[in-house]
Amino acid sequence: MLIYLPIAEVSVNAFLLLGLGGIVGVLSGMFGVGGGFLMTPLLFFIGIPPAVAVATEANQIVASSFSGVLAHFRRKTVDFKMGFVLQAGGLVGSGLGILVFNYLKALGQVDLLVKIFYVVFLGAIGGMMFVESINAIRRTSKGKAAPKRRKHNWVHNLPFKMKFRVSGLYISVIPPLLVGMAVGVLAAIMGVGGGFIMVPAMIYLLGMPTKVVVGTSLFQIILVTAFTTMLHATTNHTVDIALALLLLIGGVIGAQIGTRIGVKLKAEQLRILLAVMVLGVCIKLSFDLLLTPSELFVLGVAGGH
């Protein structure tokens, strides 16, 4: 069944979108990530204009993250104070990201920027996760215990300290502000929630306990992506509500199924699968940048506004 999308102005198969939403939803439920880093390139691939794909994906992440965070609300594993501090940085980051996005759109380089961001971040995170989980699997097979994380690092010596009771932390507000800002920039430019960067940053940089990380990350992703959605809707008018609706119906159902599959797998297996998937997307996108394209020319709206 073909559906004409009112903002994207293309006709696409509704079941294809439901299916894509479902598959990405399963993966995001399994790994506890928003799945934007997979969905946005897939939307490019089926012919949705990049600007619409990025803006609409932000809206879809609001839905899947909200679906996920409710369970964490019930278990009281959301650090609201940390969430709001991350969010304060996130708002500045989103604003900066939109500025950069619109400036590069005017220069005709926005596709390049989005792709480079994807390649760099997916490559770095995927690579790190892959190495880390291989090591973890080796250690468990040798029967050794995982090395204990360092409790104190340079992050703990900065000024403006603040108490985060749920996380059990007494640290400076500067690192969470910076982390929030970085994720905000990414959310605006890449159309992702930034969970795949936020989660490792909270564990390794801020030293938050793992049990509150996912809930807090989801909580702040909702705020950042909601803000990004509003910015894209009011400045670029590129949020396609019909596209978002089809994706999120598939997505929220898929996420619930994915969560069940996720429980049956071991943590290291999950991480290594996620790492392989992230690296796969990264390699595909770097080929686009490195190999001679079949069509050297691209069309854009003149004026760039």
């Binding site: 004409y4 879809q60 959605t229 509500i241 929220v252 996420a255 691209v298």
Partner: protein, 251 residues
């Protein structure tokens, strides 16, 4: 009274009497883009009206063009810099139709002379206006524009798809693909003899989003804040709904 006679005579003189004229009909005079829009066919048919004075020599030909709204387009060319392919040179095309289709009753050389094509901007390369290009091989850019839009089935040329019967009746079907945008679609019918245009008939076929498509599009443009809030409300409701539904299933 006398002055009125002169005026009349002058008017008659100003209007060159055409030996052959186009009379036109359309199967539909507007196209509605609904949520389930899968493209559309428009049947264009007509007749050649004659006043009995055959003045022009040569074979009869009919050319029909349908053009979507024209907008400026930037064509960018990728170049390998620092090892990666990035957008480098660009050419601004002043006015490129979003959709363009040419249908003819016979081979182009037979029904249209080059100079007539140029004058009436009939074939695709002439329908695209590009001036002030700063790049040396700007022709490659307009060719790329035509190639990309042709691949997307937006630009097309159909040779010999206009049927002419008895030198009088003509008809053709124009296929509008599902990826067209809204706007006024300018439809032109040219009657040619020996490749020279002897009559032209212009009409507009409006293509519009209707119903929920129109409502959403207008809202996104005119009430952006409300539209954004509505998108968020739907997202949150769906997220909550799925979580609640699956929680209920588990019990």
């Amino acid at each position: 009274m006398r002055s009125l006679h002169i005026l009349f005579a002058a008017l008659l003189f100003a209007m060159p009497a055409k030996a052959e004229e186009i009379v036109l009909g359309l199967s539909q005079d507007e196209v509605a883009i609904t949520a389930t829009f899968e493209g559309s066919h428009i049947l264009i048919f007509g007749a050649v009206k004659r006043d009995g004075t055959e003045t022009v020599e040569g074979d009869l030909g009919v050319i029909i063009t349908v053009s979507g709204p024209k907008t400026p387009i930037t064509v960018r060319r990728k170049e390998r810099k620092y090892g990666i392919w990035i957008n480098a040179d660009s050419v601004e095309v002043d006015a490129a139709p979003s959709f363009y289709s040419v249908s003819t009753s016979g081979p182009l050389e037979a029904v249209l002379k080059g100079v007539e094509d140029l004058r009436h901007s009939i074939t695709i390369p002439h329908a695209i206006r590009s001036v002030g290009a700063t790049v040396e091989d700007s022709k490659a850019f307009t060719e790329a524009l035509i190639r990309i839009r042709s691949d997307a089935r937006l630009y097309s040329t159909f040779i010999g798809t206009v049927d002419i019967e008895e030198e009088t009746l003509f008809r053709t079907a124009i296929n509008l693909p599902s990826n067209i945008t809204e706007g006024d679609y300018e439809t032109r019918i040219f009657l040619t003899r020996g490749g020279v245009v002897i009559d032209e008939y212009d009409t507009i076929i409006p293509v519009e989003k209707v119903g929920i498509e129109r409502w959403l599009y207008r809202m996104a443009q005119d009430n952006a804040v409300l539209y954004g809030l509505m998108s968020l409300a739907i997202a949150i409701a769906a997220g909550w709904g799925a979580s609640a539904a699956f929680a209920a299933l588990r019990r």
